[in-house]
């Protein structure tokens, strides 16, 4: 299930939904606004329609490739503060290896394949975040 919107992400709720399917293993990754590097606010922009479609393609690919019981991505957009959850990725499978691999796949590929843009304000200055080269490398390792 894919959700993109401005509402605060409740990781416990997401987790409960993943647990409902009878899985033996659930892997999750949560990205937060770091509280330790001076960012005062983070603003997330997305491409309505295209973003949801990109996330759905990733979830579909993960479900098929790892035979998942469930996979969920919830990504927040709009203004956020340090400590806020930006993204929740969760996978449920019969065993741990597919759950863990699919979870890493989803967050790695989300970073390069889904149209989101981050703007951060620190020390009164606002700038658009530059992509990290390591993100391309992380996404590329999932190519088949």
């Amino acid at each position: 299930m894919i959700v993109v919107g401005p509402a605060r992400i409740n990781a416990a709720e997401q987790f409960a939904a993943l647990s409902a399917g009878g899985a033996g293993g659930i892997a999750t990754f949560v990205g937060l606004v770091r509280a330790d590097d001076g960012v005062a606010t983070l603003e997330l922009e997305h491409y309505p329609g295209a973003t949801e479609a990109a996330l759905q393609r990733l979830v579909d690919e993960a479900r098929e490739r790892w035979g998942l019981i469930d996979a969920r991505i919830t990504h927040r957009v709009g203004a956020m503060a340090p400590g806020d959850v930006v993204v929740f990725v969760g996978t449920a499978a019969a065993h741990r290896a597919p759950a863990l691999e699919a979870c890493a796949f989803l967050i790695d590929r989300l970073k390069t394949d889904a149209p989101f843009w981050k703007k951060e304000t620190r020390g009164g200055e606002t700038r658009w975040v530059e992509p990290r080269g390591s993100d391309d490398a992380a996404a590329a390792r999932w190519s088949v």
């Binding site: 997330l44 329609g49 930006v86 993204v87 889904a114 843009w117 530059e130």
Partner: protein, 81 residues
């Protein structure tokens, strides 16, 4: 046309409707044609290596042929997650 992030900010709007001539075949042609017609677009598109594009909501390289696409989006590399 749809613009996102700093491309949107530099152009000063999130969307516009354009009607390019027949010799505009690829996304890169379209970017060049828009830059030729406006100093604002020219400034926003100055560094092509920092631009990415989507045709009808699917990521494509700048060399992609526009074809019958109705929605063209120009934006910086993505930084979600």
């Amino acid at each position: 046309m749809l613009y996102f992030a700093w491309v949107r900010e530099r152009i000063g709007r999130g969307s516009e409707v354009v009607d390019p001539p027949g010799e505009v075949v690829t996304v890169a042609d379209l970017i060049g044609w828009l830059a030729d017609g406006s100093a604002v677009h020219s400034a926003a598109f100055a560094d092509r290596t920092r631009l990415r594009a989507a045709l009808d909501q699917v990521f494509v390289p700048l060399e992609a042929v526009l074809g019958s696409a109705r929605e063209v989006a120009i934006f910086p590399p993505v930084t979600g997650g």
